[in-house]
Symmetry: C2
Subunit: 351 residues, 2 copies
DNA sequence: CTTAGCACTCCACTTCCCTGAGTGCTAAAG
DNA sequence: CTTTAGCACTCAGGGAAGTGGAGTGCTAAG
């Protein structure tokens, strides 16, 4: 059954006041704020209906109402105004992103921090993943007789290096030979394939040579592992403490721990279906126990080469959805615009 | 004036019980715990003396006593037992450090985390600095016609690379030429010297070539900057919340913010005089306002090549100094042993 | 269907009191 | 001169009781 327009306006007024004040909303407040020209008694009747329908909750008999998760859901789906960003905010974002166009990771880290400041909530970022990452080429650079630098470049254009010390001396020719072996046998392989190839090679290779090869290949494997790992970082956890629902430490502590422990954050619900680029999880919709009273808003950004990342905001269910989604989507779009292919026209902040 | 032995035992008992319980200590508790066979009245007299001398404080008339900063100072200087680590703990530390002997930064990061878990306090780490860092050599690797990898190796054996895209195509010969210029003119220079050399070169070099050179040199400058910067990281800030002095959020928030904002942490009092390898700052001895009710224990570790880092623990003045110093010094020693030259015999965990 | 009125509920806050741990002082004992 | 016992005093913390007020649900009238 569809709600009447008046019920919607009442629900909306309740959600928004509750978001702003964090306190149960009574019929009087609704009468004033909803813009409806009816008495509090009428409002009370409507509120009783809405409670009946499961959109509102009552902490105790004589308190006002607060939105239920279903109420929030309805709000974000239908009722919410899409907020605009101020010019200062867009500037701030742009500065944060443009800043020297450093490495991807660092830009995203910084993006997380700024977003956290703008939204007053903690933010998590997940750097992009690709299904199949392989090594594109190996380079070896002699440094001293017993040390060289191994440079590994992956097919998503990440370059990593490592200084490798050797027990024995090594000639230039040997190094070139090594380079040839590596580039012939280990290019284009994924991590697992490399491990297999290495195992197979062990049988018919001289131990000394094999040791040398595996030194470099193991480094390459590490690099690939690192690439395919979903690295989740969080920023601005302390913002939690600013919100009244985390005034009691007993409430704040578990969530803060969950977010600050890497392991915890790893299980963040960073599923984002293909095509969809913004997702809101309200309270109990979260799988993880620690997030039961928490909402998560996340957006994805596209990076070239099949890569995709997620950036998201964590806050109490009474989170300012309108404000956060506006900022978040602008961020995600900016990241996409910055790293990825062209954005289809229309994907601008003014949604 | 020297304190009598009995006064010292009483002070010590008070400090230790207060550390354990976080509550003012009364004469009765002292009588039982100090091991002295005297009445509470005698203890009271002594405690009155100690208060007079400034070693103890009284939150209000009829509460027990708590140690003053001077009392803590005396405790850490003279009274404190040097704690031993359990075997499990040393194992834990060793695992954390050995783990794959990754990059310096990561090892230290991880060390910070484990230390924070072991001590239940937040930990900060500062990576090492060297006075004069220069580039030891440049290497350039062609990737495509319009892109190459620049590899920069500094004299403290740090290797960084960057993928550089070009507007135009570049031949192998040109690349070799570029490499020669770089290795001839910019090796052995510090950041500032490089900037000067680059300026001077601009006058008598073809614009196209100069642009190419400066692309790489600017990257090298970034690398050096990065090296000479004191990078401070913190770990385990949420541990603060476990301690009763930060039960009220008003207390916890400023300190947490101070620690989690990079800028704030930068001003941490990481001075450590040469030769000294453990330092304790108690409450008001800290310069920064946010640390006034906070103690900082820090230890330095040596890394080869004139480099030195600091790792430290932040906690309430009522922090378990004995426990923390034991763990901290073992950590610092392990880091030194791992990266640096041999430790002089005797620098073992047992003080 | 809307509204005014009214009795009722219950949280949040204040006030008050009380308890108990701890103190300082004094006077006696060693 | 030091130690001890005794005692009156202080004060934070916690519970009990009381109160105000916001909000509700119901009823009856417009």
């Amino acid at each position: 059954m569809e709600l009447t327009d008046r019920k919607k306006r009442i629900l909306r007024a309740i959600v928004e006041t509750y978001i702003a004040t964090a306190e149960p909303v009574g019929s009087k407040a609704v009468a004033e704020l909803s813009g409806l020209d009816v008495s509090t008694a009428t409002i009370r009747n409507e509120m009783a209906d809405l409670t009946e329908l499961g959109y509102l909750e009552q902490p105790h008999t004589s308190a006002g109402r607060i939105p239920s998760p279903a109420g929030y859901r309805l709000y974000v789906n239908e009722l919410m105004d899409r907020q605009q960003l101020t010019i200062q905010e867009t500037q701030r974002i742009n500065e944060a992103l443009n800043l020297k166009m450093e490495e991807l990771d660092r830009v995203i880290d910084r993006a997380g921090k700024v977003l956290s400041q703008l939204s007053d909530y903690p933010v998590f970022t997940m750097s992009a993943v690709k299904e199949r990452v392989t090594v594109k080429r190996f380079d070896l650079l002699m440094v001293e007789e017993n040390a060289f630098i191994a440079v590994v470049m992956t097919d998503n254009s990440v370059v990593k290096n490592k200084l490798i010390h050797l027990p024995d001396q090594l000639s230039d020719t040997q190094l070139q030979l090594l380079s040839a072996v590596l580039n012939n046998s280990f290019v284009g392989l994924t991590r697992e394939e490399m491990e297999q190839a290495l195992d197979k090679m062990e049988a018919h290779t001289a131990p000394a040579a094999f040791q040398l090869i595996s030194l470099v290949v193991e480094f390459a494997i590490e690099v690939l592992e690192d690439q395919s790992q979903q690295k989740i970082r969080t920023a601005g956890i302390t913002h939690l403490l600013e919100h009244p629902e985390y005034k009691s430490l007993d409430k704040a502590k578990p969530l803060m721990n969950y977010l600050s422990e890497e392991d915890g954050a790893t299980s963040l619900p960073v599923k984002l279906d293909e095509g969809q680029n913004m997702n809101i999880l309200i309270g109990p919709e979260n799988v993880s126990e620690a997030l039961k009273d928490t909402s998560v808003i996340m957006a994805s950004y596209d990076i070239g080469d099949n890569m995709r990342g997620v950036i998201g905001v964590v806050g109490p269910t009474r989170m300012d959805y309108a404000k956060v989604t506006a900022r978040l989507s602008y961020f995600a779009d900016s990241l996409t615009r910055m790293f990825g292919k062209e954005l289809p026209p229309g994907g601008k902040p003014e949604e």
